[in-house]
Symmetry: C2
Subunit: 363 residues, 2 copies
């Protein structure tokens, strides 16, 4: 085990803040990702929070502000379980960097996505008890992890619109795959915002604030925004670009691992597809020849509207170099862009292009 | 004026049923499309309905079935106006046919999309008065236009889920751009289902039926479905493929016309973007060089969540052949596929690839 009880073979982008992703075959085995393989994206040092002293403040545009201990949260609100996939907005940035360099951002490969069963109270129940005032249009999440790289330095945070905050699937979670939330994943409590970029599922949550405007903090007003390709991010102030929120339809290949060598002949290809904000995946097509011909993969039924769906197919690969691609179609018959070049953006977010796997087929 | 009071320069695919689209510059001038330019997609002969004898039947899984004259509909329910874009699922099929032939389907170019201001009663108000029973999950639309080409021959029809049918934007419309609905557009009454493929906005509407299942008719169970690329449509029975419903994000160029000749130098390029089911368009990028470099177009503010947004930019084009492409990004930072090849499907639906314009720049 490496740091934070993660597998030995995690690809660690940075130790401090701890940013690490598993090799993609570790994501192919089960619907829910084992805790030691779940990717970890952090902006500041991981706080060690004393659960006994910890309190959740519920404040802002509410009728009855509250201050809740973990015990109060667990005893006063029914526990719910949601299977949800979290995906980092920077997942697959490495493919964008191959198109054109993205200085100052980590080259995440395909492993910044994982799925867990989360247990916690519904945010909507906590907000109901506090009584949202009519002017409340957004719910902000606060946390203690101070991020020196932010401009100016500030604790991590973000917000979601009230319509999402009051939806049944949004949790204040204290458990993950049936285990108490580990420190690296936000103990004692984190937000889980299914279908939205991982950046909104704030860890070490200690404050929920109802407010009229979206978060004005660095992580939402400046970072995690889709800038136009000709923008210079160092000159983009708050409000530039499109704020990322719901995850767009995507599909990727998990096994075999990118760049590996397999014998010619039948090879099982496994991957996942994910339609983000509650839309289902209807079909996955796989091509053994970079998109010239396609076959349909066998697609698992959805375990939840908020979870990825694994798929698999067996391709008979001839000797030589193979470029296998995979694409998904959502329940309305829409699909996603084919190439990272078409999605390149200055901060390297939301690479939802076709899954693409290069293999060498040789005995 | 040609048949059905349309402009002389409509491209008429077939006279009977009448299928015609305007030249795209006619769509660039105004937010709402003049009646004589609005595209017309029909499956059978256009019925001439006597408005005095016409009645709307409201039946199926409702507590209080009703039979309403036009006068009753107009006097008993408040009139609402919605600016909505209709887009035929076959729009831009011609570009798919260039990739690979699609026998038996009309080669619609880029003009099978238009926008109007629609006036009518809310379907939700009519359903409320009839009292939807809890088992009602879909609302079907019936019409008298008999389609001999359907298998078996049957009147045109379709359905939408109750969640959409009870949404504020869905109308039973009797007027279009302030004029009584023309015969060719469905007089005396048609459904308007904003954000969904045009095929659900059933014309000459005479029946609204609440039911447990989606329409089992030819036009929804067999046609208007996204088949996998390797399927043989002649062997695809009811239920094959993905039923099309909400329109996916798209963007196209309207002016200058495709294939035209312009002098080298500054050329104004105008187009539209549309994000379908209520999601807004956040940005449009235009490239003068087939996608190598991009600039942002000036994008009109949305007139309604259900209407296209026009955009324009001026490109300085050198002498020679130019390939201009345009793409849109929605409010969540998602974009659409780049090429028709990536969207090819056996019936040629939903070509939502980048808008693409080839021009000859010569004095």
């Amino acid at each position: 085990m490496t740091k934070w009880d993660k597998r030995d073979d995690m690809l660690v982008h940075t130790d401090e803040p701890f940013n690490a992703e598993p090799p993609t075959p570790a994501l192919a085995e089960r619907l829910t990702t084992p805790l030691d393989a779940f990717y970890s994206r952090n902006h500041g040092p991981i706080p060690r929070v004393d659960p006994a002293a910890w309190r959740l403040e519920v404040d802002g545009l509410v009728e009855r502000p509250a201050r809740l201990s973990l015990e109060e949260l667990r005893s006063r609100f029914p526990a719910h379980e949601v299977i949800a996939t979290l995906q980092c907005a920077g997942n697959r940035r490495a493919e964008l960097i191959e198109v054109r360099d993205i200085p100052g951002e980590d080259p995440w490969r395909s492993g910044a996505v994982s799925t867990a069963s989360w247990t916690g109270a519904r945010l909507s129940d906590v907000l109901s008890e506090a009584g949202l005032r009519p002017e409340a249009a957004h719910v902000a999440f606060g946390a203690p992890d101070m991020v020196r790289e932010a401009d100016p330095p500030q604790p991590y945070g973000g917000s979601i619109p009230v319509a999402k905050a009051t939806a049944d699937e949004v949790l204040l979670a204290w458990a993950m795959n049936g285990h108490p939330l580990p420190a690296v994943h936000g103990a004692p409590l984190r937000a889980i915002v299914p279908g939205w970029i991982g950046a909104r599922s704030v860890k070490w949550l200690d404050r929920v604030t109802a407010q009229a405007e979206p978060s004005g903090g660095y992580f939402q007003a400046v970072a995690y925004r889709m800038l136009p390709p000709d923008a210079d991010p160092s000159r983009c102030g708050p409000g530039s670009g499109i704020p990322l929120g719901p995850v767009a339809l995507t599909c990727d290949i998990l096994r075999p691992e990118h760049g590996s060598r397999v014998p010619p002949g039948p090879t099982e290809i496994t991957g996942y597809a994910f339609a983000g904000d509650g839309r289902g995946v209807a079909r996955v097509d796989v091509s053994p020849d970079a998109g010239r011909t396609w076959t349909q993969a066998k697609l698992d039924a959805p375990a939840s509207p908020w979870a990825w769906q694994h798929w698999r197919t067996t391709l008979v690969l001839p000797e030589g170099e193979a470029e296998i691609v995979a694409r998904a179609w959502d329940g309305a018959g829409a699909t996603h862009p084919e190439s990272p070049a078409a999605l390149w953006n200055p901060r390297g977010y939301a690479n939802t292009s076709w899954g693409r796997l290069r293999l060498t087929c040789r005995r």
